[in-house]
Symmetry: C2
Subunit: 298 residues, 2 copies
């Protein structure tokens, strides 16, 4: 859905948490000519240096408060759990009219926290559906968001007008803006992202208990085990925050998965080959549709 109107331009931008996502955003926005001067914020000196070295930031600081002073756009790309506190920290330093957005994987808590921002400030929740196994500005790429879905959540701070402006911006970066409510987003992502992650982690932990010898696990595992558990190697901090922030929808999605897994093993133990084959054929059909859908190649 192309968004009408010219993409916006922001003279001064603060990117707080200038890791993989924050630095990729800065590189993409610079390449598209949508931003001028970028101040990058990161706690670690090594991250700040890398962000400057790759040209994602013109200046860096460990402190978010001076970084946001005078910024027309503030892009928050820290782990999800830090976002509400960060909004409180920077609230008083934000310039009137400033557009604040985030890139967190869970939208309800940050959008709720944004309601306490000054009335002069605009806030649009954001979530680019893009990433990489790697992390840090070293892994940043100007085309990271290219052709990927970019969720946008309008909030009372700025409403649809601010969301439209963000949509034109992310479209200028090559992404596909999708407007959605925070609750709808969090329920959707609980199913398509947080559930697979929780399941992969539980599966990896179970296998490590069932086959305690690491050498045996490696020697006797085939592609299936490797595929299903790949995401279990992701950052514990990032996913702790996501699970905590989206606990309720995640629990509901997990409970359904548990019921279906129980149904599978009960059919197997009962020798009910007919029911087993139905369930397996249904999952085969759903999985194949995932691969062949034109949207998937977007």
């Amino acid at each position: 859905m192309p968004v009408p109107g010219d993409p916006p331009y922001f003279r001064r931008v603060a990117v707080i948490g200038i890791g993989l996502i924050g630095a990729s955003f800065a590189l993409a926005a610079k390449r598209a000519g949508r931003v001028g001067y970028v101040v990058g914020v990161a706690r670690r000196e090594e991250t700040r240096r890398a962000a400057r070295a790759i040209g994602a930031a013109d200046e860096t600081t460990p402190d978010p408060v001076p970084a946001v002073r005078g910024a027309e756009l503030v892009y928050l790309a820290t782990p999800v759990g830090a976002l509400p506190g960060l909004l409180r920290t920077i609230a008083a330093a934000l310039a009137p009219g400033c557009l604040v957005t985030d890139a967190g994987s869970v939208k309800a808590p940050v959008c709720q926290a944004a309601e306490a921002l000054p009335a002069s400030v605009r806030f649009v929740g954001g979530h680019p559906l893009a990433g990489s196994e790697r992390s840090g500005p070293q892994a940043a790429r100007a085309d990271l968001f290219q052709k990927h879905v970019y969720f946008l959540v309008p909030t009372p701070r700025g409403g649809d007008e601010a969301a439209q402006q963000m949509a034109r911006l992310v479209e200028a970066l090559g992404a596909r803006p999708v407007t959605i409510s925070a609750l709808e987003h969090d329920r959707l992502l609980a199913a398509t992202s947080h559930l697979p992650h929780a399941v992969a982690v539980a599966l990896m932990l179970a296998i490590s208990q069932l086959v305690p010898d690491a050498r045996q696990r490696a020697e006797f595992s085939a592609t299936g085990l490797r595929d299903t558990t790949r995401i279990a190697a992701s950052s514990p901090e990032v996913w702790r925050d996501i699970f905590l922030a989206n606990a309720r929808p995640l629990r509901e999605a997990c409970q359904l998965t548990i019921r279906l897994l129980q149904e599978l093993v009960e059919a197997a133990e009962a020798g009910d080959g007919q029911r087993l084959k139905e369930l397996l054929a249904q999952s085969q059909q759903v999985r194949q549709a995932l691969e062949t859908s034109p949207a998937a190649r977007g």
Copy 2:
């Protein structure tokens, strides 16, 4: 573990179920000069034609009984559920001294059924830890087993001597023979193969219920979902048989996974970030070890 002694040679071989695995075995054994004349058995005319076309079989038939007459080696590569019945069908036609082996993913039922074979016949359970998303003789490759683990299960029919002969044979095909008991094999594979499969299927079914719109599932799914559910697209018949044949160990592995998944979501709902991070860090470490272990590259 290199196996001492010359690899055996079989003048006449019957491969029953000459699909991906059966035809790959025939191609590999022919290339290694370990077999002479190969009779391939398949129900479908198309499969038989393909097996002849790629040179996996010198002759084909839909009927296993005439195929095994005079064979020195009988290689059973049908789905797991057909194996016990197949042994009963061919028992009377097997030549004295004949070596019978199978390639099924579950070992207890077929090894038990083999105990009813004539005393003059030798049986070694087998399971090559190799495969492909594709199936049929069209997908067969002489190097399919190359460097892969090949489980061998000695049975009262032939004992260790027959198992040693099989070990020399599969080693001649480039595989790594691993001798194991049927029960140990089935418990191990329940954890490293059947459990990931059942979990992927339950996950795919859950997601299809949580996000009923196939277009949304495709559009809003990232790499994580695709990796974790890839094996859910496998053959329903093959996996129905495996789940039925290994129901008990599979149920135990699933129950442990369910407990761990519940522990994860309970920690999230209780806001216990410390416990969550412990579980996530542990799964990260186990998953990383899977990738870095030298055995995994074998």
